[in-house]
């Protein structure tokens, strides 16, 4: 093979490969809008916060509100529930992390770290089981506080049997994590904004 022919082949190879690369990159770029369109759109993201007045919620009462399509548990805990949650050592927990968007990611799952602003009577967290997303049932499960044989606080997920304690921490069953606490803040003494 002569040198001239050889360089010719190499140049063709180069053009061939370069064209292929440009084509592949272009296709990948063109694909992205088609993939990304499935992500939450602007109207979904716009619904990202709700406000709530906690004053009407009596002690021992829990309500469920909807935020970004998901249930949020808002519970006014009794002293028995708070005491039960505080009595648990973090070493006993399945998931030792607080899972609270309002504290540091590495903070331990103490009862204090599961609420915001030291208002330990109000437990506010997602009502979405961290296993596969069912809504757990309140005042139920093996880790509720027992007062006169009545269960207070604690959650049980009927789908595959996960038990959460009175601070919403996973204690038993297939769920891997504590119920997450969403970003929220107190606007006044009793009014909160979630999101």
């Amino acid at each position: 093979m002569s040198t001239i022919e050889h360089t010719d082949v190499t140049r063709r190879d180069f053009i061939y490969i370069a064209t292929g690369v440009v084509g592949a990159a272009g296709t990948a770029l063109a694909l992205w809008p088609f993939i990304n369109q499935m992500n939450p759109d602007a109207s979904v993201l716009a619904l990202a916060s709700v406000e709530l007045d906690l004053a009407p919620i009596a002690e021992g009462q829990g309500i469920t509100i909807k935020w970004r399509g998901n249930p949020v548990f808002v519970r006014h805990r009794t002293q028995a529930e708070i005491d039960a949650a505080k009595a648990v050592k973090t070493e006993e927990l399945v998931d030792p992390l607080a899972r609270n968007a309002n504290v540091k990611e590495s903070d331990p799952a103490t009862d204090e770290n599961r609420v915001v602003g030291g208002k330990e009577q109000y437990l506010i967290m997602m009502g979405v089981c961290t296993h596969l997303g069912c809504v757990p049932i309140g005042n139920d499960g093996d880790y509720a506080a027992l007062v006169d044989n009545v269960k207070q606080g604690g959650w049980f997920c009927p789908c595959h049997g996960s038990h959460y304690d009175t601070a919403g921490r996973i204690r038993k069953g297939p769920a891997p994590q504590n119920l997450p606490v969403p970003v929220y803040s107190y606007l006044t003494d009793t009014k909160i904004k979630i999101g």
């Binding site: 909807k66 997303g133 809504v135 049997g161 297939p174």
Partner: protein, 428 residues
């Protein structure tokens, strides 16, 4: 592919078309003259039954889509509107809903048929693997279809199944958010599921085309598992098998219509006539019957990611079956030990189905909860775990081992010999 035809266009138009698009030759060669083993039994009719059911699902589905509204506020009511107001809407919807179940009954029989007669073995590995792909597409299609009526089971089934992806490390949550188009199952989810539910059956039809192409290269397997040796071993597909298939299809349609007319809701869940409520999970959620064995496998593993991996692995393992079975013979007719384990496997799959149907901590086949005292109780969960173990043990240990060590029975020299021996037995 067109080697089997002696097609000669007879009319002037026929000649004209043949020179431009030899489609009549293709039809005659592949759909009529195609040499087919003369000894196929009724288990071979399920391919035709499946093709029929695909057509039925597409026809009824297109009609439903004319009256259905994919919006969270309207979907449930539009299905009720189909049931009450649309002329024959109840019939079309019951045909579609029960048609999905019939489709799965047929596909399970079809798959077990392939397993029993060794149809997955060389030279039909690609045919078998396309079949597994078809099965996967079917599952995805039926899953998304079940979400459309937007009842409680629609919603929570979708939530639990899409949440499976959240088990994937690091990117799991991003994937579920992407699948949902939001932070939960909501209107964007319903919309895209409708779009894909409409699309996938046509992808399925294309995959069926490939499946048949891959079938027509080596030709059909047959109950003896012995390859075709001469033209004596075969019959033309038409009219011999067109008629046999047609008879089986009609019989199957009778069975299907018995469900549609006399028990249209038996295979469904009453709670799906409750509109979807994102704030309340029903006390007991279960998938449709055809997913139950896989649901049992999912629940058998106490770890979230582990359960998801086991569930997907239980289907993906089918892709490897052609290489797990190392026997020189195909058909289990002449493989006595494989035959025994085949039937054990079938029973285990049925047990898995039951294991997936109840609350994990209830006693198996009962509505009573076992006490949570840490002792051994014969619960749905335990049964599911034992059966899951056997499922994988069957593929990973029994098949490779048994296919290697078993003493096979003597197979006849040819299909014709097998057929004549049988005829002789009958005459005697």
């Amino acid at each position: 592919m067109s080697g089997h035809s002696n097609y000669q266009p007879t009319t002037r138009f026929g000649k004209w078309l043949h020179e431009r698009l030899p489609i009549m030759e293709l039809i005659q060669a592949q759909g009529m003259d195609f040499p087919t083993p003369r000894n196929l039994n009724y288990w071979w009719t399920f391919g035709g039954i499946l093709a029929t059911m695909l057509v039925v699902q597409i026809l009824t589905g297109v009609v439903l889509a004319m009256h259905y509204t994919p919006h969270v506020d309207l979907a449930f009511n539009s299905v009720e509107h189909i049931m009450r107001d649309v002329n024959y809407g109840w019939l079309i919807r019951y045909m579609h809903a029960n048609g999905a179940s019939m489709f799965f009954i047929a596909v399970y029989i079809h798959i077990f048929r392939g397993m029993y007669y060794g149809s997955y073995k060389a030279p039909r590995e690609v045919l078998w693997m396309i079949g597994v792909v078809i099965y996967l597409i079917m599952m995805a299609t039926a899953f998304m279809g079940y979400v459309l009526p937007w009842g409680q089971m629609s919603f929570w089934g979708a939530k639990v199944i899409t949440n499976l992806f959240s088990a994937i490390p690091f990117v799991g949550d991003a994937i579920t958010t992407w699948l949902w188009g939001g932070f939960s199952i909501d209107n964007p989810t319903l919309n895209r599921f409708f779009s894909l539910h409409y699309l996938l059956p046509f992808v399925l039809a294309a995959a069926v085309g490939l499946h048949i192409w891959a079938l027509h290269v080596p030709g059909n397997n047959n109950p003896t598992g012995i390859s075709v040796k001469s033209s004596q071993d075969t019959l033309p597909f038409h009219p011999y098998y067109t008629m046999k298939d047609l008879f089986a299809i009609v019989a199957f349609l009778v069975f299907y219509m018995a469900w549609v007319f006399y028990s249209p809701n038996y295979l469904g869940h009453a709670i799906n006539y409750d509109p979807a409520n994102p704030l309340v999970t029903p006390a007991h959620i279960v998938p449709e019957w055809y997913y139950l064995p896989f649901y049992a496998i999912l629940r058998a593993i106490p770890d979230k990611l582990g359960g998801v991996i086991a569930m997907f692995a239980s289907i993906l393992i089918l892709f490897f079956l052609p290489w797990l079975d190392r026997s020189p013979l195909r058909s289990f007719k002449y493989r006595p030990l494989s035959r025994v384990f085949f039937w054990i496997f079938v029973v285990v799959c049925v047990i898995l189905g039951f294991a997936g149907s109840g609350l994990p901590d209830n006693y198996f086949l009962s509505h009573h909860a076992a006490p949570a005292d840490g002792g051994f109780h014969f619960t749905y969960k335990i049964v599911g775990q034992l059966a899951t173990f056997w499922y994988f043990f069957h593929f990973l240990v029994i098949i490779p081992l048994v296919s290697k060590i078993e003493r096979t029975e003597k197979a006849p020299a040819s299909i014709t010999e097998a057929v004549l021996a049988k005829a002789h037995d009958h005459a005697a």
